[in-house]
């Protein structure tokens, strides 16, 4: 990791073809820069382009134009992902594996040596409080335990930038509380967190800054403290989204 911004996005455009004639503009020239150690919440209604942004950062989707860089390294270079942890909204698991084995495999995939593998896996298991479940097969996990396992695999490489796509989706209040604590600890360790969500109350509690994405455009960017000094984030969001109808 260097002194460059954790994430810089410039002029990102992406169009999806839905039929031979019709296209949908998912992103229309998105510009975004994240500061080191902040929690940035990217908000927006369903289909606003949040997941597309994350997938482009991870080079899972190719943009039509524009660039993204992670700590100064172009996002298309796989080495840029060395400092990135990613938790998808929904992910499949190899149900026949134990949670611990899944994490070991994830550690091997990112090149953690055999000597360090067990130690790193134990570290993330402890950080996510997954000690009991890690010895069980993944197919027996609850939704909350699966979500925590996803976060655990994202923390294996000690990421400087953590990308979370709807991390609270399907979690019960205890799970949400636990996640909030984990994210707060990571922030204190200097990890930059980029969070995509439509659960405004949660974002209000943990994010430092928010951006509102609507129809592929970043219509608003503001400090959460500045917003909550006057109103609730939810009211602010509804006001901004409502004044920009589709």
């Amino acid at each position: 990791m260097n002194d460059s911004a954790p994430l810089t996005i410039t002029g990102l455009r992406k169009t999806y073809r839905i039929s031979r004639k019709d296209k949908i503009e998912a992103l229309c020239g998105l510009d975004l820069t994240l500061k080191k150690g902040e929690i940035y919440g990217l908000l927006g209604p369903n289909g606003s382009g949040k997941t597309t942004v994350l997938k482009i950062i991870l080079d899972l989707i190719r943009p039509d134009s524009g660039n993204a860089s992670i700590f100064g390294i172009p996002h298309t270079n796989y080495l840029a992902r060395k400092s990135v942890g990613y938790t998808p909204e929904e992910a499949g698991f190899f149900g026949f594996m134990k949670g611990k084995d899944f994490l070991k495999i994830c550690a091997q995939l990112i090149g953690i040596s055999k000597a360090e593998n067990a130690r790193e896996v134990a570290r993330v298991i402890s950080a996510i409080s997954l000690e009991t479940e890690s010895e069980r097969k993944i197919k027996t996990y609850s939704k909350g335990a699966r979500q925590r396992l996803l976060i655990a695999q994202a923390l294996l490489n000690n990421p400087g930038l953590l990308l979370l796509d709807e991390p609270t989706s399907g979690l019960d209040p205890i799970g949400i509380n636990c996640l909030r604590e984990i994210l707060s600890n990571l922030k204190n360790e200097g990890v930059t967190i980029f969070l995509c969500s439509h659960l405004l109350t949660e974002v209000e509690k943990i994010a430092d800054r928010i951006g509102i994405l609507l129809n592929g455009m970043l219509i608003e960017e503001a400090e959460v403290s500045a917003i909550t000094a006057h109103s609730k984030l939810e009211d602010y969001f509804m006001q901004k989204v409502g004044s920009n109808p589709e």
């Binding site: 997938k55 080079d59 190719r62 992902r81 992910a91 594996m97 495999i105 091997q108 990112i110």
Partner: protein, 273 residues
Amino acid sequence: MGSISTVAKITVKELLFRIEQYAILGVGLLIILPTGILYLNDSLAEQVLSMAAATSPDIVQLPRDTLVSSMFLLAELFITVSALFTISMLISRDIQQKTLSLFLSKSMPRWHYFLGKYIGGTASLCITFSFYAVIIFFFVLVQSPSLLSTIVISTLFVILKLALLSALIMSSTERFLGWLGAMVAVLYYIFGHINIKILEWSIIYEGLWGDMLKVVYYILPNLSEVSSWSLISAAVENYPIHINYTYWFAKQIGVYTIGFLFIGYLSFKRKSY
């Protein structure tokens, strides 16, 4: 490079844990085992052969070696059908299960994932085939140990063919749907049969035509049963030309397998997931 072996290991584990794999193994055994028992039991074999001769007078005597060859061909057939299903679904299953984004979001180049999947898929097929081969090996060991080296060579050739077939399916599954990729492989398999015909014609026609056909035979990839036990022995014993198996090996693996994989990777590399 560690990530390639990790992806391969997960793929093998995942495939060997699937019930379909055991179903294929079971059905294959249901056919191979009775053939093997027939091969071992002299009176039973004679009885079946005399019954066959009674039904069709043309069959006066069925050489015992044909039974070994049949077992081998059946095993090969099963593994080929299995390859069509297994390899064509390798990546699309990861897309369906939503495990692909987890793999590709890691700090490894895409080709590591692609190659790991290929190696894992092919390895799982080879493990299944080796299981059949070991059973056939034991039958042959009891009855005619002199054939053992031929069985070992034939097994190696089938493994080579599986490597080529898997690469061929991988080359098309990303461009088309999984089943279409399998269809392309089936067509190619038929093409393999034409290839063996080319070998036969090259023997029949002498002079320039024969030489040209030999060149065509050596250049084209071969998925036909030339790798099977019966045809190897037939080729070695009866064919007037010597088949250069070292060349065949280099051609199949060195050129076509790598070539097909490269074509498959080019489309995989560009795709959004």
